[in-house]
């Protein structure tokens, strides 16, 4: 039903109608207006009465779901490209990032924080400048947008290194240790240009090592998110980190002490009722890998029930994500390894060590829907609104409110029979990414795929 008369000048506005918007914990039948000029969600009523214009296009979505674009908080690489890589010709690095961004957005991930594993200072200084926030130009054709890099290590506990290279792990005793490691400009705002964000948005570290806990307030002051991870922290140490300003836990349960009834460890901080302790900081957000390998579905359900408002689904995907099964080389710093991909399972060749995952974020959402009995808005919240709040971009990303960035995913629902008796039988909904919109422009459509899938 294109309604605008042809003689009116184009205004870049699109009205999506006959759709259900993800608003809070419900799906509401409402129209949404987006502008490709401003890249934002329009206050439609004000546009109508003030600007006296109608959208160029009206798109009938036939009752499908419109969700904020998904936000990925743990992505090591994908589509054959690993962020923690030094290339012979580093000018090719941004080209690879751009390619990844184009591919990634087709999975419904419109924003993410590229994750760099434990590496040397040399690598950080070379790759981090390419991984900083990339959305300033607000160009839809740039694909998925980086909200800043996530440095996972190297200030990790060697006892919980996972597949991180133990040789590069170290401790920090002062802020300059951090600056020396990541490069001063990557974690410290330039005093002459305080508006320019730092390349690094989030640091995962073990708070119990060195002076890390005491460094947290300074990092938080710089607008960084401190995340507890790869840590042997006890409940007391984790609580101290939270009190110091840690607001996130990197892949909860994985690479940390398990919950013990006499010392609940890091997981224990989710059990603190914030309201009971005045002045106590709110409970941290936490990442959950819902690939069916890293965590048992019931564990996921327990974590969700413990603190639903902090629950963030992440993939921890490696560069093999999106590639066929097989054995792939993996350069971890200077060391050459091979990782065997079989389905979504990634194992370090010749071992049982899980080497990240290769799942997509929407598959995590669908798994969670299947296992938890959560509603669709609740599940999508874990990849939209909650990560946006964790990263401090609430109101701009992860919501469909007026003035927010018009990053959208249009989902259709498929009913899926769930035969797994352990997780409850019956039908559950499965979301399928039909369309992806970035800054008010449609950049991917499942049904009308063009060259490279990009419209």
């Amino acid at each position: 039903m294109p309604s605008a008369a042809p003689d009116r000048p184009a205004n870049g506005m699109t009205k999506l109608t006959n759709c259900r918007l993800v608003r809070g914990d419900s799906l509401v039948w409402e129209d949404i207006w987006v502008s490709s000029t401003t890249g934002k969600i329009l206050r439609s009523q004000a546009t109508f009465y003030d600007e006296l214009i109608l959208p160029d296009n009206t798109i009938d979505l036939g009752g499908r779901i419109v969700s904020p674009g998904m936000i990925e908080c743990q992505l090591n690489g994908a589509f054959g490209f690993n962020f923690s890589t030094l290339l012979d010709d580093m000018t090719q690095y941004p080209e690879n990032v751009r390619h990844l961004n184009h591919q990634l957005i087709q999975t419904g991930v419109t924003s993410y924080i590229p994750t760099v594993t434990s590496q040397t200072a040399d690598l950080y200084s070379q790759v981090l400048p390419y991984l900083g926030p990339s959305g300033k130009a607000r160009r839809a054709e740039d694909g998925a947008e980086s909200l800043g890099a996530h440095v996972e290590g190297p200030f990790l506990n060697p006892g919980k290194n996972g597949v991180h290279n133990k040789a590069v792990l170290c401790e920090a005793s002062s802020l300059s240790d951090l600056e020396d490691m990541y490069g001063r400009s990557n974690i410290t705002p330039d005093p002459s240009d305080p508006e320019r964000p730092t390349s690094v948005k989030m640091i995962t570290a073990a708070p119990e090592l060195g002076q890390m806990t005491s460094l947290i307030p300074a990092l938080v002051d710089r607008g960084l998110v401190f995340s507890i991870g790869h840590s042997e922290a006890t409940y007391e140490e984790a609580s101290a980190a939270v009190a110091a300003g840690a607001t996130m836990i990197t892949h909860l349960f994985n690479a940390m002490r398990p919950l013990h009834h006499r010392n609940p460890g890091i997981f224990g901080v989710l059990g603190v009722a914030a309201s009971s302790l005045p002045g106590f900081p709110p409970r941290p957000y936490f990442g959950i890998i819902a690939d069916g390998i890293h965590l048992h579905p019931t564990t996921i359900k327990i974590a969700w029930n413990a603190h639903p408002d902090g629950f963030i689904l992440v993939t921890d995907a490696m560069h093999m994500a999106g590639l066929p099964d097989g054995t792939y080389p993996w350069t971890n710093g200077q060391e050459e390894h091979f990782i065997t991909k079989k389905g979504a399972v990634l194992l370090l060749e010749g071992s049982d060590t899980i080497a990240g995952s290769s799942i997509t974020l929407i598959d995590c959402v669908n798994n969670f829907l299947k296992w938890s009995g959560a509603t669709i808005p609740q599940a999508l919240r874990a990849v939209t609104c909650t990560p946006a709040a964790m990263l401090g971009v609430q109101g701009t990303k992860g919501v469909l409110d007026f003035g927010a960035d018009a990053d959208l995913v249009i989902f259709s629902e498929a009913e899926e029979r769930n035969n797994d008796s352990a997780h409850g039988e019956g039908m559950s909904s499965k979301l399928v990414v039909d369309e992806v919109w970035k800054f008010g422009t449609k950049v991917y459509s499942r049904c009308e795929k063009g060259k490279d899938g990009i419209l």
Binding site: Q45, Y49, E51, L54
Partner: protein, 400 residues
């Protein structure tokens, strides 16, 4: 006045919506000659808007060449406040159809100069060629727009202070906090509504029954401003059964029968063709010549109030209706070929009339033996427009 009664609110809303759609379609609006629609807010028209939106989405109707004027708006309430009438119209109608914002007019309750805003609004209505159809709802006190009891029936668009009752009723939309309820509003006047070429009011629910009764069965009264519709040449009220609770059974039956007969004859609201098609707007008004009919025919139907209050108004401004003289009872005797024979009967004389009737009864088996058993008088009395004839004359006419 036409009163359309439907079983429930849904059917009444459906009737109104379809009527509006039908009118717009017949009008065949164009950018040069758009259909001008007056619109209300409130709970009564919600169903109408819902159906209009459905029909638009089904491709039955387009609002591209429809110009709208809303009745009223609160003063001082932010335009995008959820309870503003801008928001109401946006939420329930404008956001769902293809109406162009340039064609939408709603009074600005935040204008710097409210008086100028009102004058300008009237000018805009005039510039748009006047309102073709004004849809209206009413309050429990029979108010139309914000023209509450006591409003002048000659009023125009203006600032109005809300009645305390209205503020109380509206407080449910403002967290039941009287302080938050706007105390004043801008509203079109009664006269503004009456100058529309057609007015359609939708009245739903038992709460509105008394108001409907006052407006239909009682006289024109400024305490029930909707009653001013009695002065309009083409008013129509559509209501549900609940709203008729206070009406007399005979009133309800009368209007229902009228509708049945009209339907059987294949027409609904009798609108002059020029109003229906919208082609008349550009045509220069023709001089009207009237036959020598001595009858109070409506030559140029216009609200009586406007004739009384503004005698200088050119009649041509109003749509012209075809001449259909009302039936005027006259002396039946004057129609007879040999009046001398009946001269004595010019004075009503019960004895002689009775005698004539008896003669008639005696003749009947001989002359009308093959006819059915319906008494001629019964047939005549079922024709409402003749019922104003004095009964004596009626009987005589039949007898003759």
């Amino acid at each position: 006045m036409r009163l359309i009664i439907r079983d429930d609110a849904a059917e009444a809303s459906s009737y109104v919506a379809n009527y509006i759609i039908d009118r717009i379609k017949h009008f065949n609006p164009s950018p040069a000659s758009p259909f001008v629609l007056g619109l209300p807010t409130g709970s009564s028209p919600l169903g109408v808007y819902r159906i209009l939106v459905e029909k638009y989405k089904a491709g039955v109707i387009s609002f591209e060449n429809v110009v709208t004027f809303n009745m009223d708006e609160y003063i001082g309430l932010p335009r995008d406040h959820p309870e503003s009438y801008h928001s109401f119209m946006w939420k329930h109608f404008f956001s769902h159809v293809n109406i162009h914002p340039n064609n939408v007019h709603i009074l600005n309750g935040n204008a710097a100069n409210l008086e100028a805003e009102c004058v300008e609004y009237e000018a805009k209505i005039k510039a748009a060629g006047g309102i073709d159809l004004f849809l209206a709802g009413i309050g429990e006190d029979g108010h139309i727009a914000f023209n509450e009891p006591g409003s002048s029936l000659a009023s125009r668009t203006r600032v109005k202070t809300l009645a305390y009752d209205t503020i109380l009723v509206n407080s449910r939309f403002f967290n039941n906090d009287l302080e938050q309820v706007p105390k004043m509003a801008l509203t079109v006047g009664v006269q503004t509504v009456l100058e529309a070429r057609e007015v359609v009011a939708i009245i739903l629910g038992a709460r509105k029954a008394l108001a409907l009764q006052r407006c239909i069965e009682q006289g024109v009264n400024h305490m029930w401003t909707l009653s001013s519709l009695q002065l309009h040449p083409h008013p129509m009220i559509v209501c549900d059964e609940d709203a008729t609770l206070e009406l007399q059974v005979k009133t309800v039956k009368y209007f229902k029968s009228i509708e049945q007969v009209a339907l059987a004859q294949g027409f609904e609201q009798i609108l002059p063709s020029k109003i229906r098609t919208g082609n008349g707007r550009a045509v220069a008004p023709q001089a009207i010549t009237i036959d020598q009919v001595q009858s109070p025919t409506i030559l140029a139907p216009q609200p009586t109030t406007s004739r009384l209050l503004r005698p200088v108004t050119p009649a041509a401004e109003y749509p012209v209706r075809s001449v259909s003289p009302d039936l005027i009872p006259d002396r039946m005797a004057s129609r007879l070929p040999d009046p001398e024979r009946f001269v004595r009967r010019l004075t009503p004389n019960p004895e002689q009339q009775q005698q004539a009737l008896e003669e008639h009864q005696e003749r009947k088996p001989k002359e009308n033996g093959v006819q059915n058993g319906v008494h001629p008088a019964a047939f005549v009395s079922s024709m409402p427009h003749v019922s104003s004839v004095p009964s004596a004359a009626r009987v005589r006419a039949v007898g003759a």
